[in-house]
């Protein structure tokens, strides 16, 4: 099967800033492909090139076999695109926005209804409400409906869940799973690591380059240092005292704990790990954190992401 997206040494500069730096990767047909990386990594520029809105300076890219520089209209008619911030017409109603996007693509809402129904049904009771009066979650559902109404073969979604609450995010990703099951290829960027976990593969992008590209579960396995979760009530105090620990490589807030990475190379011996836990616990207890608790843990994608970004910065 041919690839849905093929990117080869893709490069884009804005003045002196290199937004994309010889980027190369493929997205397979039917794949749910994630892009994660900090703001300014080049993700939105990549989406704009793949949707033929911006031309690359060098390198090449194809979408569904069509060249982004040459086959503008072949690509545009087959791509569903949700830009960052949703880009709806604020003074048009829900129904008018949808009808407008359908008309632009030479189709009707009725023709596309089957595909958008699971998303749009939740909006239909607000069909006469102006788009600017919708909540963030409803705006997102409308923007997805607008991107789907012409029955595209590939979806390009630029941070579709930013500013959206945790429940709406889950619903949105459930919908993406349904769309993927129907055969649609989906490329999506996100700052949320729990969303990255739901992709088939994830690319970590930084400074216009790909630092790593793999299945999300495999990305954590590249983490080479001992990692510990530290629990305690005075989180900020723990953060500072852990940073002062002689063997600290990195310390960061992590949900209900802190994640502490030691400088040593990975310790495969269980006994050595137990020693590290005991030493670290004793250090924290001696420094005023009597309730501190330390557990060895395996790295997840978020740990790897931060380690890769930290070393790339």
């Amino acid at each position: 099967m041919s690839n849905a997206v093929e990117v080869r040494a893709l490069t884009k500069r804005f003045d002196k800033v290199v937004a994309l730096d010889e980027l190369t990767f493929d997205v397979a047909q039917g794949e749910l492909f994630g892009l994660v990386g900090p703001d300014g990594a080049g993700k939105s520029t990549l989406f704009r090139i793949l949707t033929t809105l911006v031309l690359p300076d060098a390198g090449s890219a194809t979408v569904l076999g069509f060249d982004v520089a040459r086959d503008l209209w072949d690509i545009r008619s087959r791509v569903g695109y949700m830009p960052g911030g949703f880009s709806l017409y604020p003074d048009l109603s829900v129904a008018e926005n949808l009808e407008f996007f359908a008309a632009v693509f030479g189709t009707t809402v009725e023709e596309g209804y089957e595909l958008i129904a699971p998303v749009y049904k939740q909006l239909e009771q607000f069909r006469d409400r102006r788009a600017d009066a919708l909540s963030g979650g409803m705006k997102q559902k409308l923007a997805l409906s607008c991107a789907l109404v012409h029955r595209p073969e590939i979806l390009l979604l630029d941070e579709p869940t930013t500013g959206v609450d945790a429940v709406s995010r889950r619903e949105f990703w459930d919908q993406l799973a349904t769309l993927k099951a129907s055969g649609l290829t989906i490329v999506v960027s996100t700052p949320y690591m729990d969303e990255a976990m739901r992709c088939d593969r994830v690319a970590l992008v930084h400074g216009g380059r790909i630092l790593e590209i793999d299945a999300p579960a495999a990305i954590g396995s590249g983490f080479e240092r001992p990692l510990f979760a530290v629990y305690g009530a005075d989180r900020y105090g723990l953060l500072k005292i852990l940073r002062a620990y002689p063997e600290a490589a990195s310390v960061c807030l992590f949900g209900d704990s802190l994640h502490f990475t030691a400088q040593k190379q990975v310790q495969v011996l269980r006994s050595a790990q137990d020693d590290s836990v005991a030493e670290l616990t004793a250090y924290l207890h001696a420094n005023g954190h009597a309730d501190a608790r330390v557990e060895p843990i395996a790295a997840g994608i978020e740990d790897s992401f931060m380690a890769l970004m930290g070393s790339a910065a």
Partner: protein
């Protein structure tokens, strides 16, 4: 906790728009120096509540005190006592980093000497000294947000309101932002923050979860997890907010 130690005190605060009750008799206190997470689904009424607390919107019913001042009658005093930053707007894109700091310093009524001293301190602490002359529009989002937070603290307010300060920000930069929050709280600043990142909810001293205009639950992250017998604040949130959506 005595009344004096409370930075924010809210009692039956309500706001109606026509027949729609956006904020429905909410009651809670925030202690001085506390990091308080104000959570809720999109459309639950968080922004309306914040607008009332910072004196931008008059309550329909109930009352609230912020830094000891009445939100209905002492709006000017409240604005001088608080800092505010939102994800949607915080800095002027077409001014440089230094110009933004100077502008806000002027708005907050700082003297020229204070502005000069605090500008230098702020730039250095953020590692932005080399970028002082750059337009804010050229800064990456994460840097912009860190700068906006520091600018919101320029006049050393007692309380800072942060409305989704880390929306769209990557994991590394979000953590740097939260370390700025902790540093401010450790200096005694009260932090009132909204977020859709549920790992950040775990960083708060206490959180409230707003559902359909009401405070559905309030407590420390540990208390909420114990009460709902779940592993994370996200699970608590999903349970409460999903019930509301089903009836929407």
């Amino acid at each position: 906790m005595t009344a004096k130690a409370q930075a924010i005190s809210v009692n039956g605060l309500t706001r109606r728009f026509g027949s729609f009750v956006a904020v429905d008799h909410i009651t809670f206190d925030v202690g001085a120096g506390e990091v308080f997470g104000f959570l809720g689904a999109n459309g639950a009424g968080k922004t309306t509540a914040i607008k009332m607390l910072i004196g931008l919107l008059a309550p329909s019913d109930g009352d609230a005190h912020v830094a000891g001042f009445d939100v209905k009658t002492q709006r000017a005093q409240i604005r001088r006592s608080i800092g505010y930053m939102s994800q949607r707007f915080s800095l002027y894109d077409d001014l440089t980093v230094r110009e933004n700091i100077q502008l806000y310093g002027g708005i907050y009524g700082l003297s020229d000497d204070q502005i000069r001293d605090r500008t230098a301190t702020l730039l250095e602490s953020l590692g932005l000294s080399g970028s002082a002359g750059d337009l804010v529009s050229k800064l990456p989002l994460g840097w912009k947000q860190k700068l906006a937070f520091s600018v919101a603290l320029l006049h050393e307010p007692k309380i800072v309101f942060l409305d989704e300060p880390t929306g769209g920000v990557d994991p590394l930069t979000r953590r740097q932002f939260w370390e700025l929050i902790y540093a401010a709280a450790s200096r005694g600043t009260t932090v009132f923050v909204t977020t859709h990142y549920m790992d950040e909810a775990e960083y708060c001293d206490r959180v409230s979860i707003m559902v359909d205009g009401k405070i559905a639950t309030l407590g420390t992250p540990a208390e909420l997890k114990a009460q709902y017998k779940v592993a994370t604040v996200e699970d608590v949130f999903v349970r409460l907010a999903r019930g509301a959506k089903a009836s929407e």
